[in-house]
Symmetry: C2
Subunit: 470 residues, 2 copies
Amino acid sequence: MDAEEFRRRGKEMVDLVADYLENIEDRPVYPDVEPGYLRSLIPTEAPQDPENYEDIIKDVERVIMPGITHWHSPNFFAYFPTASSYPAMLADMLCGAIGCIGFSWAASPACTELETVMLDWLGKMLQLPECFLAGTHGQGGGVIQGTASEATLMSLLAARCKAVRRIQATNSDMSEMEILSKLVAYTSDQAHSSVERAALIGGVKMKKVPTDEHYAVRKDMFMKMVEEDKADGLLPFYFCATLGTTPSCAFDKTEELGPLCNEENMWMHIDAAYAGSAFICPEFRPLLNGVEFADSFNFNPHKWLLINFDCSAMCIWVCNYGVILFFLLPGLVTDYRHWQIPLGRRFRSLKMWFVFRMYGLNGLQAYIRKHVVLAKEFESLVRADKRFEICADVVLGLVCFRLKGSNELNQNLLKRITQCREIHLVPCQLSGRFVLRFAICARKIESHHVQKAWQHITQLTFELLQEPEH
Amino acid sequence: MDAEEFRRRGKEMVDLVADYLENIEDRPVYPDVEPGYLRSLIPTEAPQDPENYEDIIKDVERVIMPGITHWHSPNFFAYFPTASSYPAMLADMLCGAIGCIGFSWAASPACTELETVMLDWLGKMLQLPECFLAGTHGQGGGVIQGTASEATLMSLLAARCKAVRRIQATNSDMSEMEILSKLVAYTSDQAHSSVERAALIGGVKMKKVPTDEHYAVRKDMFMKMVEEDKADGLLPFYFCATLGTTPSCAFDKTEELGPLCNEENMWMHIDAAYAGSAFICPEFRPLLNGVEFADSFNFNPHKWLLINFDCSAMCIWVCNYGVILFFLLPGLVTDYRHWQIPLGRRFRSLKMWFVFRMYGLNGLQAYIRKHVVLAKEFESLVRADKRFEICADVVLGLVCFRLKGSNELNQNLLKRITQCREIHLVPCQLSGRFVLRFAICARKIESHHVQKAWQHITQLTFELLQEPEH
């Protein structure tokens, strides 16, 4: 394919992309395929000779679309949102063309430098403390990681390294292996599985802190665990706080927990993967209070800030550049390869630049607020129906609800919802109860989508409750 | 930006992309900027209100392009190639529009299933042993990782887990920490820094095996180290072989090393990040012999197989699905989140599908062969000039060469090359000598680019040798 053909096919693809997104509501949001469906639809080997481009495009509809869960459909309320916007897609096209690998400053200076400045822009939008910004000295600040899992892992490795050095400095008779065997990390019993996995990778113990009735970690319970572990000869070194948990969007009390971590020489990392985007609104910023006690902080603009996944999957800021990061080898220039697990990296900050400029802070705030209003609207609908109950505080764009009754009843309701394929939800467990999660996800969602989804849910509920076994 | 505007701006962007790539030779391949250049060119904060799209596009030329190292210029001979092709860019646009997050099968079945089948296609192109393929049972096989660094880390973690279980099964009195403190991993003294880093992350010792005069690990030296370590009470458990090292594209002797690893219960991982793409050509496939002894194998199609970075940054296959992978929790369906560090993942196999079908195996082989021929052409030019020497076997697309003389002389030559910005090279160290690496990189490179590059190098050499201090 030469440049001329690319010009033609590229423009066709732009229309295909716009057509797909404009008409996404016409497709069932959830696919109706069995595991292994795709293998029989395509050859078992690559072709020897080139095929026609038209055949490939036909196969997108024949082979791919039947197996797609349409995350950007306004009928998609599962998981958490994944961002999508036209400016981000345009920036991604440019990123693909430039195709530089920004593992060091010299490998493409613009790739490193725009990233540093964009993370400062974002840090200012969030009103992060100064120590989290690179500022004019141009070092430190934030970095784009691939995913929140990687950010958590990096923070845990940095904390592990710092703890070993600190403990060895005062206990020169302790070997590194002895220290490692006594280190203990903590996180909420509501934290994402990737936090536990980071500890597994790093080869350190991790304990789950029980949460209160709002699914938040509180100081008293945490302090009790830390004291007991210290009495047992363990070495507490790391706490991963969650702001906006995956099951219910609960918020750990970082304002209480942060000072405790600081006193105990424990690294506090804040994982705000979903909720972080909302902190650009002054009315939600108090949820981030306590960040001034944190050593590192991350959230995913690719979830809720209109920047498509893979461009800006996550950001991590490290407070105080002087802190010894595991891989951080400060030099004259920022070489981001030392800040992350992978070596290679794309020019992902281009997407942030395009989106921030095309929306402006006002536009981004309006987007967040609209989603929160729609979640509140759904909450009101649920509360007005006495057969249902709300299962957790509705703070941002997630509503956890269930039918008053058994877990089995709620499992049956979700099964029917999934089978109908008109809307898509996923469940969670809260205090041993099977709960439905309704997350506001799509960029183009409006009130009537929420209303229609609720009508659908109540219709299926009606049918379910009519049946003899209930 | 609504769909109508995206249709217009998207088509403009397609032309911008084609214009950039068509005229890339007009730009100096290496930028002329100082660290921190970009910060002063843009505001210190995000705008409050939306800006004009035209202003953003103007800023691409004003702010970004001066700081770009043009990896796809035919005058770029640095590092290793990073892939770029129009079919991959079209697939990436589609990937961005679908925007599904394929962390589990259900999150978008097509995303998981196409990946499994594409890795089988690729495995067949490479004539991998059957045990590396998923086949019709649809499980196991390969997975796309972000980068080779992540693949190495995953393989080391899997090996660590397997070793601990195996050793504990026969030594029930040994604690996990005791085992970890005695585990030892090995790799070549020519291996990429990410291999050493994987061991640091995993908290295990890693030793570098000295290489022979071709910069390859041989059995005798390796066996000697393993025997000595065992005698010292250590537990050898992992060897990362390199096929195509970063400095000189050297090949460890995996046919000798593999049986040794198997006998010693050591996991053998093969890192063929750059060279792997060449193994689709029958004449280069013997370089992969010995893979039948490996537990895992990876290479980067995003380097040399025309699939842009970030779509298919790397592939890893694990021989025998039954092998206990660290995170692998086999179920009815393949949930790739258990195969990798990140949770989220894009629909990266779309790029493989587009590229394989638009080029066909013949087209891909022709592409590899052309690059190898051009490297041989450059090698001949160097060999014909008695002032220069070739420093390592030229097997694929990399030529390591230097001026006969001091390291300082060669450093000066490279400095002049870099300052002229007509071509771009990076150096390496081989046996303590400063060596220039000439890697065939660009998709659109032709013989005349190689000839012109050589003329430029000899012209600068002439000027350098004229100067009084030489």
